[in-house]
Symmetry: C2
Subunit: 237 residues, 2 copies
Amino acid sequence: MHAESDRARPAVVLLSGGLDSYTAAAIGRQQGFALHALTVRYGQQHARELEAAHEVARALGVAEHRELAVDLAAFGGSSLIGDGQIPKSGDATSATARHGVTIPSTYVPARNTVFLALALAWAEALGARDLIVGVNAVDYSGYPDCRPAFITAFERLAAVATKAGVEGDRFTVHAPLNELSKADIIRRGAALDLDYGLTHSCYDPTPEGRPCERCDSCLLRARGFREAGLRDPALAA
Amino acid sequence: MHAESDRARPAVVLLSGGLDSYTAAAIGRQQGFALHALTVRYGQQHARELEAAHEVARALGVAEHRELAVDLAAFGGSSLIGDGQIPKSGDATSATARHGVTIPSTYVPARNTVFLALALAWAEALGARDLIVGVNAVDYSGYPDCRPAFITAFERLAAVATKAGVEGDRFTVHAPLNELSKADIIRRGAALDLDYGLTHSCYDPTPEGRPCERCDSCLLRARGFREAGLRDPALAA
């Protein structure tokens, strides 16, 4: 007898250890995909996020989980990878505003472009035509590479960049959270019985790996749980 | 007194150690760009190519040269990174043909998408808005991610993927060799006094790092020198 994952259609899912990618992966699993999870070690300052990714992958029962290193921190350009202070609630903002656009200092240059490119490489090698990402453009940090326009442009690139695309196949980037608020994502995850206690969202955890509860990511997460009327199991009782 | 590179406009150039990227970089330098060279260690089976990249960077007098590792070989899917035999002249072809398209087994899934994504990440962190690549779609191995349609799709992606793009800046991917034959590229390089003896093109060098003279890349290079009426200085006399 073969496991379900031997027969299901494969998809590569980017798994960060956060709440969003966990939920997106679980939605993909529910849709019948066999999950090939990719976690990128790109120079995060803390290991907690990577541990969370491994726990989440295990909880999801993925067909395969890979961790790949690519040192984006060597390029700098973001407070998230050691270039400057991570902004906290009450700080003067470290976001810059130009042409009416405000993007915070935690933006990592071209991060999701690099991540999707790596997911595409693995997908093509694997024979998968589906990528799953947890980006969402409602309750998010304002990163450009979380918006639907980015996803569409990436699908167009994949069609001309790959052997599979040129041969007539199509790569689809599934972003099932795109239109959901953080509270809706959490409600969806709760309905899927996900254990958000495994996940980690904080940009700047304590040395013990606890969330700071003051960075942008912690604040978005807290508001999401509050609006969903649920308690965050990752926070101390 | 400041060096020229302190004042010139920065550009990130992908430098492989081959003849094409060397020539593209030299054209960029002639156009006044300060070159920030990026060499990606992606799982090539031989170190000769990386050594060549360092020698070429030195010969070009780049402002900066970085080598970044990203293990595409872990994904497989290409004879160039250890998955199957590299095809040689006289072999039955290991290219596959579908819908009238033939792409050789040396194609590495999404390689140039990953490379350009990394170049974009560095460029944005650096404040550069120009990328330079040595792809060409005339005398080439038939890889989809060497064609003008790929370059255009990547520029469109960069416009929506980045903070700089959203703020109104534009990233340009310069592919100055795109319309040139291999012989034209070599003539152009000769006019720029480039030392092609530093470069390495072979997909499957001998243990001593000498070109095999039978792979697709060696054959394209040999034909280019022949048509340009020049001797390849990388070959033994």
